[in-house]
């Protein structure tokens, strides 16, 4: 949907951080626990990985950026658990404040998962075998869609409307745009599409290429 998560080609971020060989996996203990709890929260809230990525994309700028990667995971976990009626709105912060200073606050009635909620598709993983043949072939010119979908998408803004060449046909996979909303898996082929830097960024760009994995629904044939 072109939310905060769609960063490709955006400016104003400054220099990159050079790698450190001795960087710990988790610099602080909470980061490991937040990671594990978020992965558990996907299932506990009845979501899937596409819905998790869509939750990340719907965070506001502060929730996405201020406490880094692990902070944004924690905030997405909270969003999924509230939307999945496992946590009440505000309950997490109320408990955190109570932990910090004994401040007593009524967190409200804890929500419970609705037993009548639909059981979301739970097939393992995202790859699927489909009967249809791929619509596009290696070497074919394709144009990425130029729409601006209101909901979840894995079509990065910086390739929309641009023409590339199919470099490889990847296995069919669940379509995130509908799977994130529990509107069906719509499995379809994924294509590694190669874009020239000058196509994406203009004639003055340095010369290089970018490949992007694009779902069949995002692409149209281009003569």
């Amino acid at each position: 949907m072109g939310g905060i998560a769609d960063l490709g080609g955006t400016s104003g971020w400054g220099r990159v951080h050079p790698p450190r060989a001795d960087e710990p996996v988790f610099a602080e203990p909470w980061q490991g626990r937040a990671t594990a709890l978020t992965i558990l929260a996907i299932r506990l809230s009845g979501r899937n990985i596409d819905a998790f990525r869509y939750a990340l994309d719907r965070l506001d700028r502060a929730a996405y950026l201020d406490q880094g990667y692990f902070g944004r995971w924690l905030n997405a976990a909270e969003m999924m658990l509230v939307e999945g009626a496992v946590l009440a709105p505000g309950e997490l912060d109320a408990r955190a404040r109570a932990l910090s200073d004994g401040h007593v606050e009524n967190p409200g009635e804890p929500a419970r998962p609705d037993p009548s909620a639909p059981a979301w598709p739970a097939a393992p993983g995202s790859l699927r075998t489909i009967d249809a043949a791929p619509a596009f072939a290696v070497g074919q010119r394709v144009r990425a869609g130029n729409g601006s979908p209101a909901g979840p998408t894995r079509l990065p803004g910086y390739v929309r409307g641009h023409v590339g060449i199919v470099e490889a046909v990847q296995p069919a996979a669940v379509f995130p745009d509908t799977n994130a909303l529990f509107q069906g898996e719509n499995p379809q082929y994924v294509y590694s599409v190669r874009f020239a830097s000058h196509e994406l960024w203009g004639e003055h760009a340095d010369s290089f290429a970018v490949t992007v994995e694009l779902f069949e629904n995002y692409l149209e044939a281009c003569s």
């Binding site: 990667y69 976990a77 408990r95």
Partner: protein, 199 residues
């Protein structure tokens, strides 16, 4: 870190994480030992050492190298590596004239079974935003200067396909065994932001 304060203060991420765990444990939805086991697994078992073993084998076994480049997921599975965030791994080879580097502009997708969890620079907005727009400059900032004759291909991981770079084997390592090569191979080289150096 925020400590204390009233209802108007935002609790720290550490406190909010503790609160989340407490709430889920109270409801009987999470066992803290599951959290402990996850952390231990990614701190000790699943990391770039797995990928280094894959690369060292590819450098010393031409048949394996062919299989790895043709069917990455299956070849990696031969060494016992697979699972979450590794459903379909594609391996690409770096050469003196063709350089691949991996990014995920939409989140921080990364091949967990072979490289572990992503490092901080990979998740940083500057890396995610700039790698697809000015890779030569970004790589130089990270310490890798590539000549103008080197063709750069940036691999943006926007689906469940995961990329692993097979780095160049450095000159002067011809006498080293597979086991002796493993410690030379770094995570950064397997993402494509560095080269492997001879010892």
């Amino acid at each position: 870190m925020t400590t204390g304060g009233g209802a108007d203060r935002v609790p720290s991420a550490a406190l909010r994480t503790a609160a989340l765990e407490q709430l889920l444990v109270e409801r009987g939805l999470v066992d803290p030992r599951m959290v402990d086991a996850f952390i231990a697994n990614y701190e000790t078992n699943v990391g770039p050492l797995n990928g280094a073993k894959v690369v060292a084998k590819a450098w010393t076994d031409p048949d394996y190298r062919r299989r790895l480049l043709a069917e990455g997921t299956a070849a990696i599975k031969e060494l016992g590596f697979g699972g979450a965030q590794g459903e379909h791994i594609v391996v690409v080879e770096n050469t003196p004239t063709a350089h691949n580097v991996v990014v995920c502009t939409l989140c921080s997708c990364y091949p967990w079974p072979v490289l572990g969890l992503p490092p901080s620079w990979y998740k940083d907005p500057a890396y995610r935003a700039r790698m697809v727009r000015e890779p030569r400059t970004v790589l130089a900032e990270m310490g890798l200067d590539l000549g103008d004759d080197v063709q750069i291909t940036v691999r943006d991981s926007t689906s469940e396909v995961r990329w692993l770079v097979l780095p160049e084997r450095p000159a002067g390592t011809e006498h080293l065994s597979e086991a002796e090569l493993v410690p030379l191979i770094t995570r950064d080289a397997m993402v494509g932001v560095a080269k492997v150096a001879a010892p």
